[in-house]
Symmetry: C2
Subunit: 131 residues, 2 copies
Amino acid sequence: MQKQETLSKNQKIILDLIEKSDQPLKAYSILFDVKKKGINAPLQVYRALDKLVEIGKIHKIESRNAFVACKNSNCQVSKATAFSICESCEDVTEVSNLKLSKYLNNFADKSGMKYNKYNLEFFGLCKNCKK
Amino acid sequence: MQKQETLSKNQKIILDLIEKSDQPLKAYSILFDVKKKGINAPLQVYRALDKLVEIGKIHKIESRNAFVACKNSNCQVSKATAFSICESCEDVTEVSNLKLSKYLNNFADKSGMKYNKYNLEFFGLCKNCKK
DNA sequence: TTAAATATGTTATATTATTACACAGCGTTA
DNA sequence: TAACGCTGTGTAATAATATAACATATTTAA
């Protein structure tokens, strides 16, 4: 949590916004929302997003080009991420399952390549949409 | 394999191109390459790509906005995909590991959501780039 | 107290993807 | 065989996502 203190102005504004949303936000919707705070250009948003992803405060949902706050309160670096995505309502939830992350962090296939990061996205129908 | 026969002209041209490449291709690079075959517009490419993804002939590498041919020769539907991506040379390989796919296909977390699809991307350095 | 590193602001532009509309070919079925 | 649904094609325009290039400010650390 101590890293929070050292965020820059724009980074704070944008992290705040993302943390207040329970769903992933897209870069240009963020831009729209922060214009009233003096952030005027896409690049200002993307720069903050890049930094926030880098330090693990937010994650990018690659299949949706959208960003969510990290729910692992102690997450410092974004290197092992998993999400479940409802294909109907687009609700996204971060999956935190110790077994899963252990399994994937230790995964090695025959290529001999050692992975230092992964991103997993599950798709399905959420409880509400299954009804 | 029998589905191959029923691909349309544009779909065949584009699948051919992707299958001949050992690395993921981006939509506009595909467009550039197939102009000589009479495919002139992005939409023609995207439509073919959508279809090919749908029937499992190719996969989209979400983090790279690029498309690779499916290496599972008998893959009919693209519902469980895993790739390893070298962050230095951008080499991408499809991971086919029965244990992994079983594990992920059966994965269920506390949300009770049942997944019907997933996409997993591992990142690291490939053998060549590790040297 | 200067240099290096990080962040900001702005304009322009590149890259990725979709909307909207018109029409062609093919198999069904009525 | 005509009407229909379905899938695919072609084209133009535009939307959505992301980065390059340049100038300047602020913070950090030697």
